[in-house]
Subunit: 262 residues, 3 copies
């Protein structure tokens, strides 16, 4: 059983995603699954984060089609990236790269063979006319070298990690989820060993929040209270129990955060 996933900024109203699935369905019986289509329009970094957080949970051989593509129809290349266990397909704008680094042993191919594209090729929708059919042919077993040529030239993107600086840990908010949880780039293993005994001060921009608790899940503080915890990606998360930390703390995606422990 082969699987193809789809991750785009197309939304689900317009039929664009369904057009991609129609094309893939005409080529292969692989199972088609959605990662998300709600990436903010043209937000490459956000798409890169969601792919990076999600792809590792899929089985060996899964092909991920990723289309956040403000440069469509320009000179940007189309890529197939093979990794140790999964395959990534999408535009050469960096969106695939954090996941390629994470999955490991990756090789980048530029898509060149028109045989695996839909014709007439549109200039505005390569998701449908190039990436979906290429993914479907990969699921069908067409060799990578048949679809394109290896390349060492591609837009790279790697997520930075939070780190110790003097008496503090400095990181940033990688992503704000539907619940308003602030997912930072601070990995759990750089936190103090006795973090559950500490009170934490969080500084972001001009704001400062003191005496915040670190707990192992949301429910250990009262509803509406701020907490720090380790999220499901093993990074530090700032949350409000049954509330919205992004709104409560007025912190946005990409904001720097500084933590003091006392």
């Amino acid at each position: 059983m082969k699987r193809i996933t789809f991750l785009t900024d197309f939304g689900t109203k317009d039929g664009y995603v369904a057009q991609m699935k129609g094309v893939a369905s005409s080529i292969t019986d692989a199972r088609l699954l959605d990662i998300t289509h709600e990436v903010a329009p043209h937000n490459i970094r956000e798409g890169a984060f969601i792919l990076w957080a999600t792809a590792p949970f899929f089985p060996v051989g899964t092909v991920h089609v990723v289309v956040v593509d403000p440069g469509v129809g320009m000179e940007r290349k189309g890529l197939v990236i093979t990794t140790k266990k999964q395959i990534l397909v999408g535009p050469d704008n960096g969106i695939l790269l954090p996941t390629a680094h994470l999955l490991g042993d990756f090789v980048v191919y530029e898509i060149t063979n028109p045989k695996y594209m839909i014709h007439p090729l549109s200039r505005t929708f390569h998701g449908r006319d190039i990436f979906a059919p290429v993914a479907a042919y990969i699921a069908k077993g067409i060799p990578f070298g048949e679809i394109g040529t290896k390349t060492a030239h591609f837009v790279d993107l790697q997520f930075s990690l939070g780190e110790h600086r003097g008496d503090r840990i400095v990181g940033k908010v990688m992503y704000v989820d539907r619940f308003g949880n602030l997912i930072t780039n601070i990995p759990s293993d750089i936190l103090p060993k006795d973090v559950e005994q500490k009170k934490i001060t969080v500084i972001s921009g001009d704001y400062r929040w003191e005496h915040l608790p670190f707990v192992s899940s949301y429910g250990f503080v009262k509803p509406g209270e701020v907490l720090l915890t380790i999220g499901s990606n093993h990074f530090l998360e700032i949350s409000v129990n049954q509330g919205n930390a992004a709104q409560t703390l007025m912190i946005k995606e990409d904001a720097e955060v500084q933590l003091f422990f006392s």
Copy 2:
């Protein structure tokens, strides 16, 4: 062909649902289907209603994974509930229970065997680390007794039904759908036999609407007019033809409604 459905309050933007499906896909080739991911965050009752309204239409053997889980990481149990024809998996907060009562002959198991969980087990996302893999192993045929132990201790939840009180029928709004239809808990079989000949007065809070017609479908009144009808779940619905009854009548989920027939 086995089927697993997913019902959550995760939304579809964040990749959480896809992580659950990735985990399930790594264990089983069962078909994966969505019920909804748009339950209002933490609204157990709303999730319970949608499951209860939807599960009966799925085939024998379907496994439903339900994750509206404000108590994740706390002491609340994880449950597998077997019923006459389908299986329910989710947290012990009542969300599965109206459906268990409806489907009948149910037996409750507490999930205890770490063998069927993902490790390292997160404290904030049991949907991915416990409920999705457990559902996948059930679809694969692992016996319930292998996954957990029978229990008689669980949070129960049963929907009340509207009823006659003196000269009126008293009930409440169980759910407001996308179209603004007010779905009540008043079953069609307690309405007067000649209800189509009656004019109906609806009282809710301080408001009162008189001379409303009962019709067999929306189009029997003019666009914009209020009507009462029997909805697709065989409960009384208050609607506006091609309009939004919740907005027009200013009635919300959970509001009491009283009906007089004349």
Copy 3:
């Protein structure tokens, strides 16, 4: 491998779509795919456009279930339309017809056989009780003549095309997509051959935009600038690079547009 797609105005919150899929799953193992459920409530024309733009990309034999159905429970018929390569199922309100004309060689059947409906038949949800099971039985191979009877009486709908009038091209906006792209009904082949060398004036209502460029994809103008291009359906599109043309130009669905080339 048989496939059934679903296109509705039900949204994805309420469980209605899942009820349809549950019914279909109880009848057939055909693969179930979504086109969209975000059609504006009761907007037949919008649903018709999305189906028309999407269906051609699906494989031979696909059955499309389409439910935008303000007349449910009234006297409107339910239809199965066979075309050269695919099958359409839905209400007799015109929504299927542009696609039937596009796919070609179509024959219209009125659904009459109660054997292929769910009982008790609701008066408000024929998507679940008639169209989903009929589509599933078609995917299973039940002959069309068994499900209903051929009819020559149905609501027709055909999209008009933009055309030359004197010194201008006159058309209208068929659809506004998530990105705010204005998709017109002006086919690419009626544009001047040297359109890429022209400056274009667009008039809509009281507004007038001059000196707009025609380019082959969005990125050929600066972010925020207006452009005209050929969209992925081979119709003229008015867009803003990385912006929202519908908002920038204050043009809505169904608005007339006039183009001058100089």
